[in-house]
Symmetry: C2
Subunit: 324 residues, 2 copies
Amino acid sequence: MERVLITGGAGFIGSTVADRLLDEGVEVAILDDFRTGRHEFLTGALDRGAELFEGDVLDQDLLAAAVAGCDTVFHLQANADVRHGLDHPQRDLEQNTIATSNVLEAMRAAGARRICFSSTGSVYGEPAVVPTPEDAPFPVQTSLYGASKIAGEGMIAAYAHGYGFTGLIYRFVSVLGERYTHGHVIDFYRALRRDPTTLRVLGDGRQEKSYLYVQDCVSAMLVASAHHGEAPGAHVYNLGTDATVVVDDSVALITARMGLEPTVEKTGGTRGWAGDSPVIHLDTAKIRSLGWAPTLTIPEAIGRTLDWFEAEPGIALDQESVSS
Amino acid sequence: MERVLITGGAGFIGSTVADRLLDEGVEVAILDDFRTGRHEFLTGALDRGAELFEGDVLDQDLLAAAVAGCDTVFHLQANADVRHGLDHPQRDLEQNTIATSNVLEAMRAAGARRICFSSTGSVYGEPAVVPTPEDAPFPVQTSLYGASKIAGEGMIAAYAHGYGFTGLIYRFVSVLGERYTHGHVIDFYRALRRDPTTLRVLGDGRQEKSYLYVQDCVSAMLVASAHHGEAPGAHVYNLGTDATVVVDDSVALITARMGLEPTVEKTGGTRGWAGDSPVIHLDTAKIRSLGWAPTLTIPEAIGRTLDWFEAEPGIALDQESVSS
């Protein structure tokens, strides 16, 4: 990689990828509309010469300008609001499916042939096999978010097959750590800062989920990307840890760390919301076979996230960054 | 089903569905832009009271008018040109993925909750298991057509999960029979009518494909749809025969029936074109478990198709209907 465009490069994972690529001496271009991305996350990257293109991936002229001269695109921009997909059902289509098609077309026009794509463990729906391997039985989608990501994966694989693209497809579990701004850990944290006596939990508290520390996640992305180099084809990797926590455990970790003992009120039901998967636990043997392993456990990653909230209250408590 | 909208209702399969539903006393509305559909195929249906909406599924006002009062939509309109997907990579996105999202949104607005969708065996890519069952290992897409169909399947399943839709997803093999106007049988027929001495075949002739007679296909669609009634959920069925033919056999059947002995020139390679699957052979145990079985073998279905070409030379030899 010589010059890389990162879409969503001002976001949680995108800005971390930017910093890591700059550490490796790669030229970095960033495209972000700052809908959920934050200028604060780019301070270091811009100081080190990253080039910023401010706007939407759906703006094809801007996208063409941003991808010019790049050999690789980390396409991380997405509507990641899996929970509220049913409130605006075409948002995932526009911001994920159509946006990914636009990125692929801009790459084809510019001669960039390598794409690293943030997919999701949600594409497995309610999986028949747990831990779920990459070649699990053909899933039935349960969320518009998952549907839009499987659409993106499919187009990338077709571009790999038809145009010789190299496609790295990463199916993430939930990612935690510094710059995390979206998901249940911050929802719980904000709720407890508002009212330390009571915490409302969606579902029955038994949803079992896996999490990954953001630096471990980015390391895994870079390891898989380096392994395949420019080999044409679609290369799919689950990224996660080999452990899970249930929501009840995660609540206990967060409240203990905050020194609180709230009354926990559960809405009940095996799913937090329609389309929520009761279990996300991915088989990570494939990425581990490349020599990668996570450095933090899930409780350590949750701890690191809470430390960051405490260090950056201006961001962690900024209700403007709540995307729901 | 009381009133049904058929998108692509003037096409090969759509018009056959229309006739069969009218036989059962169902009210039928047809939406078609006549890009590949034909007015001739609707003569009987319109005489029996089917209502025609002429235009594109991407025209949302027209779509809303067409779906009004319908409880069920057979969404069969699609760009079915799998072979030339790489020449215009956003056509599958627009005409298949976005179009399917529009249909789902129009249904949601109108209170229609049941969708019967023409997917494809191409979603299995180059399958690891043959014959390929519905729950085959998570496939890697090899064509933009397959990618757009897996995108459509995913959205339908998400609507089923989130909004209580009933989704019937049919993964077709290639369909043959009366009104067939697109695919290698008609390509070979037209080529031999132009030049009976030579036939050019894409690939090495060993591509192994399954085919299904159109009336058997429509019977299977109606059997599965009746079986699930209005049960919410996404119900996926492979539709095919338990046999295959290789391209060489299919050439032999066609030339024998036409009384010709052309020199066959092969372009070579295990795939007819980039994204062509060397083997499409679906496991049809699931649809058979509902009591359905095909009435025609593949050679009989090819024969029926050639009979129809001879009976309708105005359509079979009409180059305007070649969609490539």
